[in-house]
């Protein structure tokens, strides 16, 4: 579906971010292609969240370059990234629980009435926002009885749905999700994975940060493996097994130039459940 050499939607080279003694990003590269779901996986502390923060303006990297559609960009705040059509679903969702669903979808981008009511009296156009929200929720097939419900009265999956719907509604370039299924049950996780596919089918590329291998293998077109602050491999889920990818994540395997898995540490590889391939 994607031409092999399509211009990446987003590309980063040599990102470095240090926190005192800790090097969270140690020359990390990144590449997101049009219309794909790219999973970013890695052990705790591998620098996944820091990478995402650097790409979305939540932190400014010490060095390295980020390009959006081939143009170098310098995001200073998440607002900068949002202005470029990049929407992020943060791990803690970033919703205002006491506000209703429509208000959350439009938080920070409220719509005003037309005419003097809007210009002079600054009156919100609640019906229009509710209509747009309903349409958005329907398009993504997020079933909610009433958009005037406070978000805190929703189930975990529905809250996630609201956060994802908000991102999908405003994203023009890409959607990034940090661990969207971490707090969810099986059924709700499945719904969120469906949502991710629907967003991709609308033509928006999605970056999915996840710990959950089955989820990653279920939806990802490509998998970015992060280890010790770097990207150590990009693999396709249909070319490598789950245990191979886990072994790459832990450093037991590396992927060579011809996309073959190479055992670095036989003991660790065996422990990770990788069967000997004879190729050593």
């Amino acid at each position: 579906m994607t031409p092999a050499h399509a211009q990446p939607v987003m590309e980063a080279r040599g990102l470095v971010k240090r926190y005192g003694q800790v090097t969270a990003l140690d020359g990390a590269d990144f590449e997101l292609l049009p219309g794909e779901v790219l999973a970013v996986i890695g052990d705790n502390g591998a620098g996944k969240s820091t990478l995402i923060k650097a790409l979305t303006g939540a932190i400014v990297p010490d060095s390295g370059e980020i390009k959006l559609d081939g143009q170098v960009v310098h995001f200073r705040t998440p607002i900068d990234a949002r202005r470029h059509g990049i929407e992020t679903v943060y791990q803690d969702l970033a919703v205002a629980p006491a506000l209703d669903i429509a208000s959350n979808l439009f938080l920070g981008r409220e719509q005003r009435r037309s005419g003097v009511l809007g210009t002079v009296f600054r009156m919100l156009d609640k019906p229009a926002m509710r209509r747009r929200a309903a349409q958005q929720m329907a398009e993504l097939k997020i079933g909610l009885r009433s958009l005037t419900q406070a978000v805190e009265n929703l189930s975990g999956g529905q809250r996630q749905g609201v956060a994802v719907a908000r991102a999908a509604a405003w994203a023009e370039h890409m959607v990034i999700m940090d661990e969207p299924t971490a707090a969810l049950g099986v059924k709700e996780s499945g719904q969120v994975l469906d949502l991710i596919r629907r967003i991709r089918d609308r033509g928006l590329p999605v970056v999915l940060i996840s710990h959950n291998m089955p989820h990653v293998f279920e939806v990802a077109d490509r998998i970015h493996v992060q280890r010790l602050g770097r990207r150590v491999a990009v693999v396709k889920p249909d070319e490598h097994s789950m245990s191979e990818v886990v072994a790459v994540m832990t450093g037991a395997l590396t992927i060579d130039a011809s996309d073959q898995a190479v055992v670095v540490d036989q003991e660790a590889a065996t422990a990770a459940g990788v069967r000997p391939t004879g190729k050593e």
């Binding site: 607002i79 992020t88 803690d92 208000s103 600054r122 919100l124 189930s155």
Partner: protein, 336 residues
């Protein structure tokens, strides 16, 4: 089930029921406070026929006018998960500034009034800047500002009550007659302010942002709301409202009183809490605060009419405050 015509339902199953009456009562809506107010009114109406008269209600509103107005500013601040201990002191300072400038310094009354409002706004602004820029907890900032404003009031007034206040500054104490009830213009100003802020909080983007900043500041920031600007705006706006309260206080007493407002900070918090606004921020309404102020006013007035010693008013108010905060806590835990 559905009584309204909704937009076409999405295909997926809808498995959330609309909030039950009980949930709504528990979730910081004004229904609970309103019920309490009606019960109090019904109780006193049955006990004395002097309670349920236009004149008595006009009196109650006059009695709660100053604290009620202060409580509008307090509501804004508490909605952002802050607290303001300095509002009574700022009001006292502002009222001394406007009256002393006019009476002792020969400043034209209108200019004196504007300077008084500006002083109150400046103190609110200072609170806001300290809360956002340093940043410091609102409790500490406003505790400091309480002492500063209190001291400045006493230094500047030389402990003297300002008398002979020009009529412009007391005009809001004048009355007009509606039916056979005398109503002060100040009462109208107070009610007008409540309606204005109910509109601003409920119908504008600014209001949404105030709630969001109080409810989840990090989420507000990430969605692009300029949270510090919202906070500074809230504190400065509250300061301006305290200046208007100063004018109301001068109008009601006819003098500039350096002792004014000494318990008004806590009384305004009482009104806000009784009105169902959460001290944790992000939930509540300014009309709830009006009801909260009226509950205090009705209880005080009613007990006076039936001849109960005034200390019992304080006792009952204390119990109600604890009850209101308990309801808030319980509803928070339930909504987790």
């Amino acid at each position: 089930m559905a009584t309204t015509t909704a937009p076409p339902e999405p295909a997926a199953p809808a498995d959330i029921p609309p909030p039950s009456l009980r949930q709504r009562l528990l979730s910081g809506s004004t229904l609970g406070p309103l019920a309490a107010l009606i019960i109090a009114c019904a109780f006193f109406s049955l006990r004395t026929d002097r309670f349920l008269t236009g004149g008595n209600f006009s009196l109650i509103i006059q009695q709660v006018m100053v604290v009620g107005t202060l409580a509008i500013g307090q509501t804004l601040i508490i909605l952002t998960a802050g607290i303001d201990l300095s509002n009574g002191a700022i009001m006292a300072l502002s009222s001394i500034v406007m009256t002393r400038l006019a009476v002792h310094s020969g400043v034209p009354p209108l200019l004196a009034l504007l300077i008084g409002l500006a002083v109150a706004t400046a103190f609110g602004l200072a609170n806001g800047l300290l809360v956002t820029r340093v940043p410091l907890p609102p409790f500490i900032v406003t505790l400091g500002m309480l002492n500063i404003a209190f001291a400045l009031t006493h230094i500047y007034s030389q402990e003297q009550t300002v008398t002979g206040v020009p009529s412009l500054l007391t005009a809001l104490g004048n009355t007009f007659t509606l039916g056979d009830t005398d109503i002060t213009y100040g009462s109208i100003v107070t009610i007008g302010l409540f309606l204005l802020f109910a509109y601003l909080l409920g119908q504008t983007a600014w209001g949404r942002h105030v709630y969001a900043v109080g409810n989840n500041p990090e989420a507000a920031r990430l969605t692009g709301i300029p949270t510090n600007r919202v906070l500074v705006g809230v504190y400065a706006t509250a300061g301006l409202v305290y200046g208007i309260a100063a004018l109301l206080s001068v109008a009601r007493t006819g003098v500039g009183d350096p002792q004014a407002g000494q318990t008004d900070n806590l009384d305004s918090i009482t009104a806000v809490v009784l009105g169902g606004t959460s001290l944790f921020g992000g939930r509540g309404t300014v009309l709830g605060t009006l009801i909260g102020a009226l509950i205090v006013g009705v209880i005080r007035n009613g007990l006076q009419l039936i001849g109960v010693a005034s200390i019992y008013q304080t006792l009952i108010t204390g119990i109600l405050v604890i009850l209101a905060v308990t309801i808030d806590q319980v509803s928070r835990r339930r909504s987790r």
